[in-house]
Amino acid sequence: MSTEVAPEPVRSRRFKFNWVDGFLWFLRVAALIAIVVGVVGSIQQFADGEGPSAAAWRDLIVSSISTGSMYGLIALGYSMVYGVLGFINFAHGEVFMSGTMVGLISATMLFENGFWDSNPWISILVVLVVAMITSTLVAVAIERVAYRPLRGAPRLIPLITSIGVSFFVQYSFAGLFGVAIRNYPPAPSQLSGNVDILGIPIAGTRLLVIGVAVVSMIGLWYFVTQTKTGSAMRAVAEDKEIAGLMGIDVDKTIVTTFAVGGAMAGVAGLLWALLFRGVDFLTGFLPGIKAFTAAVLGGIGNMPGAMLGGVLLGLFEGVGPQLVLAGLGIPAVSQLKDAVAFAALVLVLIFRPTGLLGERLGSEDRV
C-alpha cells in the first residue's frame, strides 16, 4: 500500500481516488489532530497546575515502561513462535500465567520459613528459576500435544487449537489452584525503596523489572544471532523443509523455540510477581492479549520489534489516556486504558501495515 498521494497522472502511484484510502487518510488526520489537541490540552493543564504533578508523571512513565517491558518479554514468545510456525499461539499468555502461578508456591514457601526476607536475592532467583522451568515445560508440553500433530495444517487450525489450549490450561489451573486471587509476599525491603538514577528517584522493583527485561532481551538476542542453535532457528523459520535437508532437526528446533519463548514468559512471570503480586488463573489472559498486540505493533516475527512494541504499548496505555484523553476533557480516562492500547494498535497499523519494525517483503517473497 502506498502511503503517498500523487495527484498528477504522470508520476502514477495509486493516483486513482479510492475511498478506502480516503477513509484511512481521514482516520490518520483525525487521530493526529485528536492527539495534538489532547497533548496540548494536557500541557495546558499541567501549566495551570492541574492534572498529575511532575512526580506523578515520572512515576507513571516509569511504571508504564516496566509494565511494557514485561509485555515485551511475553511478546517475544508470540513473535518467536510466529516466526517459526507462522501462527499465533494464543496459549502463550497461559504459559506465562503458569510460571507466575507455580512460582507463587515457591515464593510462599520461602516466605513462610523466613528465607524470603533474609535472603531476598536468592529467593528471587529461586522464584525466577521455578517460573522459568514451569513456563518452559508448559510451553514444550503444549507444543508436543497440541501443535506438533498439526504441522502443515492450514494456519487457522493451530490458531484455533491454541485458543482451545488456552481455555484448557486456564481452567486446569483454576481447578488445581482454585479461583481465588493469591498474593506473592511483598517485595523484600531492599527492593521496595527508591533508587536514584541521575538524581531521579525510581522505585527499586520497577528498576529491577526493567533491568531483568533488558538483560533477558540481550541474552536472547545473542542466542538467536550468534549461536548455532539460533541460526538453525532462523533457518527453520524461513524454510523448514530446506532446514531439514541441511540436517537440522526441525522438530527439535521448534521445541527449542517454544522452550525459549516459554522461558522468556517465565521471566515475565517473575516480573509480574514483582510488579503486581496478585495472581489468579486469569492472570495470563489480558497480558497475553496485550503482548500479542505488542508483538503485532512491533512487527510480528521480529524480536527487537516485540520488545519495542511491548514498551511502546505500555507507554500508550499507561500514559496515553492521561496525556491525550484527559486533555480532550474526557472523564475517567484511565478506564479507557485498554481501549487506548487497541486504538493505538489500529493507528500504528494504519500508518505502517507491517508494524513498526516489520519487514516490508520484497517482490520475491510476495508473489
Partner: protein, 269 residues
Amino acid sequence: MPLLEIRGLEKQFGGIKALGGVDFHIDEGEIVSVIGPNGAGKTSFFNVISGMFPPDDGTIVFDGDNVAGHLPNEITKRGIARTFQNVRLFPNLTVLENVMVGQHCRTKQGIWGTIFQTKAQREEEQMIEDNAKEVLSFFGTRLAGYRHDQPAFVLSYANRRRLEIARAMATEPRLILLDEPTAGMNPKETVELTELIGKLRSDRGLTVVIIEHDMKVVKNVSDRVVVLDHGVKIAEGDYDTVSTNEDVIEAYLGRPHGEAGDDEESEYE
C-alpha cells in the same frame, strides 16, 4: 495506436531496482515474448502491469487510458488478464467454479438479487455457467466432463496450467499475460500448449504477452521478442534478431557448449 503502451516504467523493492524505466508496446493481435535471466524483472513487469504493485514511475496506457496505479481488479476489468509463474488456482474450488469466478468482473448481480433470487440473477448465474463451460471446451477434453466438478487440487500439473489460462480467459480480456506457461511441462504438453497460445489469438482474438524460458516456444509463438536484464530492456525484435544479439547471448542464452570462452569469471557472472 498500440493496445498497450508503457513508458519509463520504474519499480523498486527495498533498494533493489526491479524495473529501471522500461518502455514497451504491443499492438492488438500481436504475440510478444518477454525473456531474460532469472531476476531480470520479468515477473515484476507483469505484476506492475496487472496492478499487483503500483509503479514508482511511468505510464501504462491501455486502450487509450493510463491505468498505472489502478487496482488489479480495475485493470482486469479493463481487459488485461494474467496467469502466474507458479500457478495460483483456487485449489478447493471445482474446476468449473474456478472459471466461473473469473467472470466476476463481467457480471453484476449484487446481494439483493442473490437474496431474492430475481429473474435477472438466475439468468446471470446460468449465463456464467454456460460461459465457463464454453471456455473450458477450448481445451478440448482436457478439462471437460467429469473434471468440471473436481476440485482444482486434484488436477495434474499441466491441467492446472490450462485451468489457470481458462480462468484468465473467463475475464474476457483483450490482452492476456502468460507467465512461463510451459514451465514444468513435458515436451508433448509443451507443444500442445504452444499451439493453444496460437489459438488464443486466432480463435479468440486475444493479444498475448508471454514470459518464457523455453526458446523453442518463444521461437514458435512470438511475433516479437523483448529481452529484459536487470530491469532494463536490452534488446527487442523478431526471434532471429534477438537470438543472435551479442548482449542477449551474454546475458541470457549463453554460448552453446564448447563455444564458451576460457574466461571462467565471465562464465559464472
